[in-house]
């Protein structure tokens, strides 16, 4: 159905926009992302009449947009990596448990899934931010909350059907412990699904972070997360469009390439997974 060749362009894009900057921000960023050059506020990018000192222009405090975007990649990677690992781990663990144990455990987990879908995540985030103050960990908590349920639901479904399969029955007859059956026989079979879902959800996380920043409940300023950069520059869409445009572009390109990679991965590993 799909190409088995590695999707080169998305991968290159991802390295260029997200991974490269995340690793090398300190080396390649022309300025300190926190350093204000107050005499150079709202400088346009070099191709729109600005100077070479600030290639993508500066924001209202005279900070270098390019440097902020490059450093922002670091936070994008950190937030999405930690968020996805925690969310996928929690969701998959509960999904495994529910699907394997069935009965009451299953009922409880599935109600929790229902509840977590039914509570509007943005409102929850807002409430959390009001209680604990916006912070990196609050953003992570919201991301985990948003993610875990879909992992749990998907994994549970697969485990339910897996546990009826022969090799599980054989393992059980052979006297394998539950832990062993779960870790040796069932987990490897849902691993692909988890991997593909995780990839596809990465884009969702980056967008969520941006939304939280828009509502003023993201990672606190002046941390240059992409969401905050877009949210902060949104008022200047006409006069100083570069403040929000370039971070927006970074989000767009990253999410785009992540989604393309996710699609590719899905086609390779788990073509039956219907993931949005």
């Amino acid at each position: 159905m799909a190409s088995s060749r590695l999707p080169v362009i998305p991968l290159a894009l991802l390295v260029l926009v997200l991974l490269g900057p995340a690793l090398l921000a300190d080396l390649i960023a022309p300025h300190d992302p926190y350093q204000s050059h107050l005499r150079n506020r709202l400088q346009p990018p070099v191709f729109a009449g600005g100077g070479w000192e600030f290639i993508l222009g500066t924001d209202r405090l005279g900070r270098c947009i390019l440097s902020r975007i490059l450093h922002g990649a670091r936070y994008a990677v950190a937030i999405s990596a930690v968020g996805i690992v925690l969310g996928a781990a929690l969701g998959s663990a509960l999904g495994l448990l529910a699907g394997y144990a069935r009965g009451w455990t299953d009922a409880v987990v599935m109600r929790l899934v229902d509840i977590s879908f039914a509570l509007p995540s943005v409102l929850l985030a807002l409430a959390l931010a009001v209680v604990f103050g916006p912070s990196f960990s609050a953003v992570l908590a919201v991301i985990v909350f948003v993610l875990w349920a879909s992992f749990a639901r998907q994994v549970r479904g697969e485990v339910l059907s897996l546990r009826e399969r022969d090799f599980v029955a054989r393992a059980r007859v052979a006297g394998a412990s539950h832990l062993r059956i779960l870790s040796r026989h069932i987990l490897p079979n849902v691993a692909n699904t988890i991997t593909v879902m995780a990839t596809l959800q990465l884009g969702v996380i980056i967008l969520l972070e941006a939304t939280l920043s828009f509502l003023g409940i993201g990672v606190p300023r002046p941390t240059p997360t992409w969401g905050l950069l877009v949210a902060d520059g949104r008022q200047f869409v006409v006069s100083a469009w570069w403040i929000s445009f370039f971070p927006g572009l970074a989000i767009l390109l990253s999410v785009l390439s992540i989604n393309l990679l996710g699609d590719w991965l899905r086609d390779r590993l788990d073509p039956r997974l219907q993931q949005v």
């Binding site: 204000s36 405090l61 009001v130 606190p220 300023r221 008022q235 200047f236 869409v237």
Partner: protein
């Protein structure tokens, strides 16, 4: 009077888009019909409470066009005047009995009849009831009202209140509601549309959207507004507000200063209040003396050298430029205003010397104080928060951090909403640097005793024996000259204490469409900055 020249040519970059768009819109037939010149749309920040029950709000008067207070303000000077329901007032020598004479011609909208002292008593009861949460209520509460006749009444106060008039104009926390309407329709009548005495009548309140007012024909004051309907819309998103102005959907828009240049570049005009409408400052949390609740000797800014260093680390010229587009004055002392009591001009003269931008001196001071080694927790937490009407606060926080970092202070920005911050301050655990505003500018003595002494409210930034003494003396004195002296001493004391980081004294500003609005004179004397709605001058038809 603020006047602006009308311009015919707008920002060309939008011209071409518009030309094509307009044709297409006409073809599609979906363009909004052009508004009548006399219908004015004003876009403001959403108020903290949307209700017609003014006493159940904290005092942001969004009923202004329709509802009046006993006294008014002069549109140019901002001085309290008798332009509204009362035509004269007297006070006894010790400021405990205030008598007001109502205008016999003043009448309520609709058929609710003339304003009498019964309406004043009724309104007083509403505003001082248990439900009332108005700001500065202590100034109003506890009075005994003596009705002398239908148009004369006296407020007998339990103690001298030299600033009593501030409750009736300026802060204006007692709106005149109709007793007749209340008796006929009950509270529901007010909830639907309260009858007031202003130049406009409230016709509709749409929750989350705004309020619509209609000009009263032949207003009893003899002045009738040139604007026929006033559509006040509440929009929170600044970019959307700007878009509304540029798209011609709004005539007057309260824009953050940062965006005003976008409007002026497109040849829209800025109208400022005739006077400063607000002071802004950054406060050091809990400069208390030992024994006071909330005293915390570990706070780095308990060392006056750090407070001076922080003040000196700031280039206030840049601050004015970045935050207020250059249209603000450096504030010398929070709560001190040239028009108020106890103004100390010598402080303004000394300001550059004591508070001026001097990063070298700041570093020296930090060195002398042994910063950061000598401090248990040298990190300075700066609060970033949003408050309707103060969109510059988050930027201010970031700027402070920039300046502080420059001289070697360790900082951390904490985002927090205004309510949480208030809760912390009330619990006296706000161990932070936080923004504060004074709007409208309070009478000096009131401002000083509210935020710098233990009298009354729990939120206090300074509590020292000397300041307590000054506050007590100030409040006890009924001799204007003496009060002025004490206030001046207090200002000087706080100034030398580096009690906070004074930022700016700013006027209220709106961006207007010069094609539809010629001018608007308002003094910036109310809590929301705007007033004198009937003085909005639309372009003649």
């Amino acid at each position: 009077m603020t006047r602006i020249s009308t311009s015919t040519e707008r920002n060309p970059s939008f011209r071409w888009l518009r030309a094509g768009g307009l044709a297409a819109a006409l073809a599609l037939g979906i363009a909004a019909p052009p508004a009548e010149a006399r219908d004015v749309t004003i876009v403001l920040d959403p108020p903290s409470a949307e209700t017609n029950r003014f006493w159940e709000t904290s005092g942001d008067n969004n009923l202004g066009p329709a509802m009046q207070t006993l006294l008014g303000n002069d549109p140019v000077t901002g001085e309290i005047d008798t332009s509204t329901v009362a035509h004269t007032w007297e006070v006894n020598e010790d400021f405990t009995s205030w008598t007001f004479h109502l205008r016999p011609e003043a009448e309520f909208h609709g058929d609710w009849g003339p304003v009498t002292t019964a309406d004043i008593v009724h309104s007083y009861q509403l505003h001082t009831s248990n439900d009332s949460i108005l700001t500065g209520l202590t100034l109003l509460r506890g009075a005994e009202l003596e009705v002398l006749d239908d148009h004369t009444l006296t407020f007998h106060l339990p103690e001298p209140r030299p600033n009593f008039l501030f409750a009736h104009a300026g802060r204006g926390i007692m709106l005149i509601y109709s007793k007749a309407q209340y008796e006929a329709e009950g509270i529901e009548g007010y909830d639907a549309a309260p009858a007031g005495t202003g130049h406009f009548r409230l016709t509709e309140r749409r929750i989350g959207e705004g309020v619509t007012f209609e000009a009263v024909e032949d207003h009893w004051s003899g002045e009738t507004s040139a604007v026929s309907t006033l559509d006040i819309r509440y929009v929170a998103e600044p970019a959307t507000k700007l878009a509304m102005l540029l798209a011609g959907e709004a005539d007057i828009v309260a824009l953050p200063r940062e965006l005003q240049s976008e409007a002026t570049e497109a040849d829209y005009a800025i109208l400022s209040s005739t006077n400063a409408a607000m002071q802004t400052a950054f406060m050091f949390g809990n400069i208390y003396e030992e024994g006071v609740e909330g005293y915390n000797p570990e706070l780095p800014w308990m060392d006056i050298r750090l407070r001076e260093a922080m003040n000196r680390a700031i280039d206030r010229d840049v601050l004015m430029e970045v935050l207020y587009d250059g249209r603000a004055e450096k504030l010398v002392r929070f709560m001190m205003d040239p028009r108020g009591e106890g103004y100390a001009p010598e402080l303004a003269e000394r300001f550059d010397e004591d508070y001026g931008y001097d990063p070298e001196r700041a570093r020296e001071l930090l060195g002398e104080a042994g910063y950061p080694e000598a401090f248990a927790d040298p990190v300075i937490p700066i609060i970033s928060t949003t408050l309707g009407g103060n969109p510059e606060f988050p930027v201010l926080a970031e700027l402070l951090q920039v300046f502080f970092d420059e001289v070697g202070l360790q900082t951390e920005i904490r985002e927090m909403d205004w309510g949480t911050l208030g809760g912390m301050s009330r619990a006296r655990t706000a161990f932070v640097l936080r923004p504060m505003r004074n709007a409208p500018i309070r009478p000096s003595v009131q401002g000083l005793s509210i935020f710098y002494s233990s009298a009354g409210n729990p939120i206090n930034f300074v509590e020292t024996a000397q300041m307590e003494e000054l506050a007590t003396a100030m409040n006890a004195s009924i001799d204007p000259e003496e009060r002025g002296e004490i206030a001046r001493d207090a200002f000087t004391y706080l100034y030398e204490l580096y009690a906070d980081i004074p930022v700016a004294s700013v006027g209220y500003e709106v961006a207007v469409d010069p094609d539809t609005i010629v001018g608007w004179t308002y003094p910036g004397a109310t809590a929301i900055g705007l007033s004198h709605w009937h003085l909005i001058e639309p372009v003649a038809e």
